[in-house]
């Protein structure tokens, strides 16, 4: 198989959620001495990009996306030990989590998955995350963006608290914030001073990419 065929096969295996095929092709990547990082991005990443688009267009749904994610992670398990960290181009770092008191995390998990497939380094804090932990981790990791989500209005005020802590720590200008989840809105984002709001997962990816470009341009 040519490099192009292997990469196209990886993308297809990810779209189809076919973990067995994906693993088989991951081994072929190593046998053919294809750059494993290139295989991740141009094979799995390209596949996940299409998965994201299909989800947005109502052609794929949560069960199918989760199968795609399993296939992608199966490839990552095989290829990651062969990727040299210093050779990975820096795309940006995002700290993501569900706000304290809330545990609904499927939207956040989809966002994390698609961000990783888009080349971002993501520190996933999980769910029910203490407000101070978002800021602490962003400081430690020098992350450019904090992404927070919640499905409940009773926990939504925690998002403002994260932004307040960024001010208190004197790093508000260094860290952009994006919020999402069924309990919040563009209007709420404006009220609490968040930089952006993503209504759906695919919006979130695009907005984070735009925020990162603005940061790189010094905005």
């Amino acid at each position: 198989m040519s490099t192009e065929e292997i990469l196209a096969g990886l993308a297809k295996a990810v779209i189809d959620g076919d973990s067995d095929k994906a693993k088989e092709l991951a081994h072929k990547v190593l046998e053919a001495r294809i750059d494993p990082y290139k295989a991740m991005m141009d094979g799995c990443g390209a596949g996940m990009k299409i998965v994201g688009e299909k989800y947005q267009n109502g052609e794929m749904f949560i069960p199918e996306i989760l199968c795609s994610a399993e296939a992608m992670y199966a490839v990552m398990d095989i290829l990651s030990p062969h990727i040299k960290v210093e050779e990975i181009p820096y795309t940006g770092k995002v700290v993501a989590g569900v706000i304290e008191g809330d545990i609904h995390d499927i939207g956040k998990n989809l966002l994390v998955m698609l961000l990783k497939a888009s080349g971002f380094e993501v520190i996933d804090l999980g769910r029910d995350v203490a407000t101070k932990d978002f800021v602490q981790k962003a400081k430690e990791e020098r992350a450019e963006i904090i992404a927070m989500s919640t499905l409940m209005t009773t926990t939504a005020p925690g998002m403002k608290r994260v932004i307040d802590i960024l001010f208190e720590e004197g790093i508000r200008d260094k860290v952009k914030t994006i919020i999402g989840g069924a309990a919040v809105s563009k209007e709420f984002a404006k009220t609490i001073g968040a930089d952006a709001y993503g209504e759906e997962v695919a919006d979130g990816i695009k907005i984070i990419q735009d925020l990162m470009m603005a940061i790189k341009r010094g905005g």
């Binding site: 949560i62 069960p63 199968c67 029910d128 209005t153 309990a183 919040v184 809105s185």
Partner: protein, 354 residues
Amino acid sequence: MVTPLERVVAALTYKNPDRVPAGPLVCGASRRVYGVTYDVWARDPVIAAKCFMAAQEMIGFDGFLTLIDLSVEPAAFGQKVIYPVESTPLSAAFKGDMLIKSIDDYDKIQYVDPKKADRMRDEIKLCEILVQTKGKEVPTMGFLYGPAGTLSMMRTLEKLSLDCVKNKSVVHKALKVINDVLIDYAKAECETGIPALVLDVLYASKMIWSRKTYEEFEGQYCSKVADEAKKHNTLIFLHNCGHGPYFDTMISWYKPHAISFHYVPDGCKDYYDTKEKYGKQVVLIGQLDNPRVMYPGTPEDVMNHCREQIKAYGPGSGFIIATGCEFPPNASLLNARAVVEATEKWGRYPLLTE
């Protein structure tokens, strides 16, 4: 003077009521009117009933929805529930303590008698008190979470969704048992005299499951719950606060009298398109936006939002203005009152737009 019951009946039969009925779905928020914490409200049906009635008296909404939270049904099967003092109770499955941790654990799902399961018994009691105390004036809508939703609260949606692809037979086996319990639960709720039962069918949404998956893993089961309620002459209402709800699929499986929704249905462009496509097939209940207006907005914002929706959905009746999901439990109660005020100001029939 027109009672809320008469007003709602008129809307449900496509006759002009005095004004558009208002149902801001004040559930958990009612605890604040009576002055109790969430954990108390959620576990004591006598107190919850007092909260609902006090809130109705103060706000003036046109119906009770006995939604407590989405862990009432899973609790009956043994799922642990967390009761925060001031937030909605939730299944401990989301914190990793799920009843069904592995495929083998699906066998833990066994039939239970709803009248003997603590939380279901409380819900039945709540319906009973509201119907007996206020039934002649204010309609009470019982509530029941569909079988797939109930199962996901014991397994998580992610794991259940994968199991629906990779381990279908165990999922179907569990759903069959859950549905048998829900049929008896629906029967018990209907026997209290509630005029309508609301089935929460969240997964019939384009952001969650495909139509095919939905039909296989919920439609074919939950339709039997609807059939049971209809045997008792109880109206079936559906609730779906997901993005792009599949109205066509929901109507086909359940033949509901009304649908309560938050986002425009799949295949519809806006309020007007929704009214045009579905307004004559089902009574529309909605579509006030919680995250955009009801929670962060002022009473004035809420009134303007209501005016817009009354204009779109009000003509021809068959419409109850309501929040697209439960009124945010911590939002200003003035925003709930603003919904009623908007119907008094702009929702009187004949509408100015007619």
